[in-house]
Symmetry: C2
Subunit: 283 residues, 2 copies
């Protein structure tokens, strides 16, 4: 596995690979790789000639008072895991190269980014789309892979790619979970053993919601209430949002008729955790 830190070297390498007709699969990450990331890398490995992983903790997507400084980092461990998963190139840009003094250009997807996580993290998605576009321009992939755990991020990036006419395919991959149901996240590292147990309320409440919908419940408000009840029982859990929305527009549903994305963000101790479930119902 090759390690590239220099932006121009990365871009030149990708240009050369494309010229040679190689298909480039790309997995952008903030590092501290877990099985979710590795699943993306393995999928990219299957579908492309060259697999590029990027590790970049992107300051532009963290708000003031958020966890940019303490976000977990383990480059050495990451590189070992990435290599094992079949990565060809690990791209590790530096903050000062990605955002040199005087940096001023931002990409924003309006509407979609103001909902759900966008409400409690203003500017977050602007930081995400900007860095992802920069990484796409540097890595020039044919396919890029994102986890469905960050469902809104996936929807926003798909919209950016479509709106800006980028010539690449965005592939969403199912959330990978611990055996007890907790969605894998680098931020799970923040949890104490007690909080780790409390965190199960996210996936448990979503399972309950799906059960209710399959039992005929059509009211988003009833679902939100039931989810909230499950989470509020958990000591130390604080709901950021619970939403029942359209999986593409992320707009609130008035009634659950064909499909619904149930998405939630919950603070468990120091960690703000996300989970979601896409439920399709037959009428």
């Amino acid at each position: 596995m090759e390690i590239i830190k220099d932006l121009r070297v990365m871009q030149a390498r990708s240009g050369f690979l494309r010229q040679e007709g190689k298909a480039i699969g790309f997995v952008p990450t903030m590092g501290y790789l877990h099985e979710g990331h590795l699943t993306l890398l393995r999928r990219a490995r299957e579908e492309n000639d060259i697999v590029v992983l990027s590790i970049f903790v992107n300051p532009a997507q963290f708000g003031a008072g958020e966890d940019y400084e303490k976000y977990p980092r383990d480059t050495e461990g990451d590189l070992a895991k990435a290599s094992e998963a079949g990565t060809d190139i690990a791209f590790l840009p530096e903050v000062a190269e990605m955002y040199p003094a005087g940096y001023a250009t931002y990409v924003n997807v309006e509407g979609l980014t103001e909902k759900l996580c966008g409400r409690s993290r203003p500017g977050h998605f602007r930081g995400v789309t900007t860095v992802v576009l920069k990484l796409f321009n540097l890595v020039q992939p044919h396919r890029a892979y994102f986890g469905e755990k960050d469902y809104q991020q996936l929807v926003v990036i798909k919209k950016m790619v479509s709106d800006l006419n980028l010539d690449l395919q965005i592939i969403g991959c199912p959330t990978v979970r611990e055996s007890d149901g907790l969605a894998m996240s680098s931020r799970n590292a923040y949890l104490s053993p007690q909080e780790r147990l409390s965190a199960l309320c996210l996936s448990r409440s979503l399972a309950k919601a799906e059960e209710l919908i399959r039992g005929g419940e059509k009211s988003p408000q009833s679902i939100i209430n039931e989810i909230s009840k499950v989470i509020e029982k958990e000591p130390g859990a604080k709901i950021d949002y619970v939403a029942v929305c359209h999986p593409e527009t992320l707009g609130d549903l008035e009634s659950i008729d064909s499909q619904a994305l149930i998405a939630l963000a919950v603070k468990i101790g120091p960690a703000r955790l996300l989970d979601n479930r896409l439920v399709k119902v037959n009428n």
Copy 2:
């Protein structure tokens, strides 16, 4: 010369040409081609294997009450001139394809776009950078050519390209003028014969300013006053702005010591006209 209207066809064609190792030169325009545009096309012809011209009157860069509807159009004439200048592909996208229903993604270069024309045309440069990025993604040029008449636009686009790590070269080309000094612009078509004469005050005031600076004048305010005097003498001329600024940051200069961009926007009857002059002085 080939005419392409379909976005996917354009993108596929460019992808194929790049794969073949062809260098693509690109001249994005809003049509109604004049000698300024043709000079860009001829330069692109000299420096590339393939020359792509786009003609797209971009609604996103016009504000409410501006001249989007009445902006001059002459596709047939444009295609004849473009072909004559050596264009290989004329790309004519449709508004409904470029901005389909639900379009939501915009690129903004902060700071630079709030000065000069940005002050009187809020949102204008956001529309420019967004459409230019989209066109770059569709045409995938190695080099793109812009006139220095729209100096701020050129600076803003260079900044976007650098910040977003786009793998292409932006080439600014000197303003082409009528024999009496008027900078060529599609909007000159709005001028009556009397206004056409009045419009000479732009280039005349800039010549005066350069003369003063070469004579030792270092005060931006004095230069602005002298330019204003020349323009205000002209009946029907209304100054939007006169600025003496740094040619890269576009920030106001406190003193003219090495180089200065003198830029102005003046309303002459129905036309808002731009002109500028970059003056370098030896100390």
